[in-house]
Amino acid sequence: MKKGLNTKDVVEVLKRIAKRIEENKDYITELDAILGDGDHWANMNMGYQKIVSIEDELLKLNLADLLKKIGMTLMSTIGGSSGVLYGVAFITAHKSLIDVDEIDELKIYEVLNSGLNAMMERGNAKPGDKTMIDTLYHGVKAYKESLDNKEKFETAINKMVKSAEEGMKSTKDMEAAKGRAFYRNDKGVGHIDPGAVTMYYQLEELAQYILM
């Protein structure tokens, strides 16, 4: 169990996420072929592989600059809707880490929450629109409630992942209000949103690393 995360830890989490995304090509592409245009995996994978390729440069940065660099890299490499949304999320979240040496319990909340708000604002999206917001929103909310109830760090992390997973799964029955699935006659009902899944992978990898 980690108490907090420094630059090296964050880079390690990113590498694990990159691997997780790389391994799930077929599943994500299949989901996106149903709901969108089939390129979500390819773009996310390109973004995270780029992050892995600049590992040495990332390891030299303090936490705030690290998040900013990740945001800029994901934004310009992923492109599309996901790129700009992950970009603003990391870039906005970097402000929570100025002069901070370690991301502790509370900072995890601040980083995730400011990222979430930035995504909702730029994407003009809210929970229930059948997007990656559904995963992140429920994860952050559960984590905050757990912290407020003075539960153990480990419990809070576990609750975050569990709620994020529920949020992801809840996109299956939703009608899309955003993105390409909106154009389907059935608004994508019956299919999990691929963006919600890749968001879940990221939170789950973060959680697993912390709980290690």
């Binding site: 969108g36 390129d39 390409r180």
Partner: protein, 328 residues
Amino acid sequence: MKKIINHPDNVVSEMLMGLEKSNPDVVYFSEVEVIARKEKKTNKVGLVSGGGSGHEPAHAGYVGYGMLDAAVSGNVFASPSPDRVLKGIQEADTGAGVLLVIKNYSGDIMNFSMAKDLAEMEGLKVETVVVKDDVAVEDSTYSTGRRGIAGTVFVHKIAGAKAEKGASLKEVKETAQKTIKNVRSIGMAMTPCILPAIGKPGFNLDHNEVEIGMGIHGEPGVDRTNLKTAKEYAEIMVEKILADYDYSGSEIALMINGLGATPLMELYILNYEVTKILEDKGIKLYKTFVGNFMTSLEMSGCSITFLKLDDELKELLDFESKAPGLRV
């Protein structure tokens, strides 16, 4: 997958490098995937457009005298990021401001608006217009609304001519908006395309099926139907356009657009059928464009676009364009 490529990751930059070699009037900026005009007038309104790659000649092929000043390419079918669009704006700016022509896709809207914010922070004057010509999708102020497809090319042509004639940013924007108000399109697909990074088709259609109202990224349409004759496709598609916008008694420009794998032979057959329907309905044809203008990689299928013209739009449509994608 059979494609003439070196590596799926490099298709966009290598395509633009090849385009630059074929057109002495433009310059390519690597990393940001921007194609811009070499020669710049001062104080001309800059016109910038762009979007995901795979729609060639859109958008880089429309950079040239009489059309765009810069085009910004994203990955295949994915919107370009704000930093790339910002570079496009910077290259197009010659002191009179820049108009961004955006197709109505949530990714494009987000990336281009963020680029506008970044450019304004640098003191540049930027306006935007959003093209939403696809009648297959319902328009609504509460949702993403209808998509921007081949009608965008008419917006590039007309706004480009207006800017070339020395109009102000406000005037170019107004003319672009008038064009958007009067343009409607509908598409149909017969076979899917293969994204280079994925290697297999993004959707499936049975060998005896077509999809009406398909978007330019292969996103689902409104209706799946059995194979029909060219005459029947023309009837179905024209009817969908006319149900949305009343072109009766007007003079129009017509675009018969191929999605990448449809032979010109078939586009001309479709054009013949569409033209006959227009004659029957008393809709006057001013100018026709048949070819590949807004494609979807090697998807087979087509789209039909109508633009209602007035004297100003006719003059601007006839204005010279040296862009390789649409020479007038």
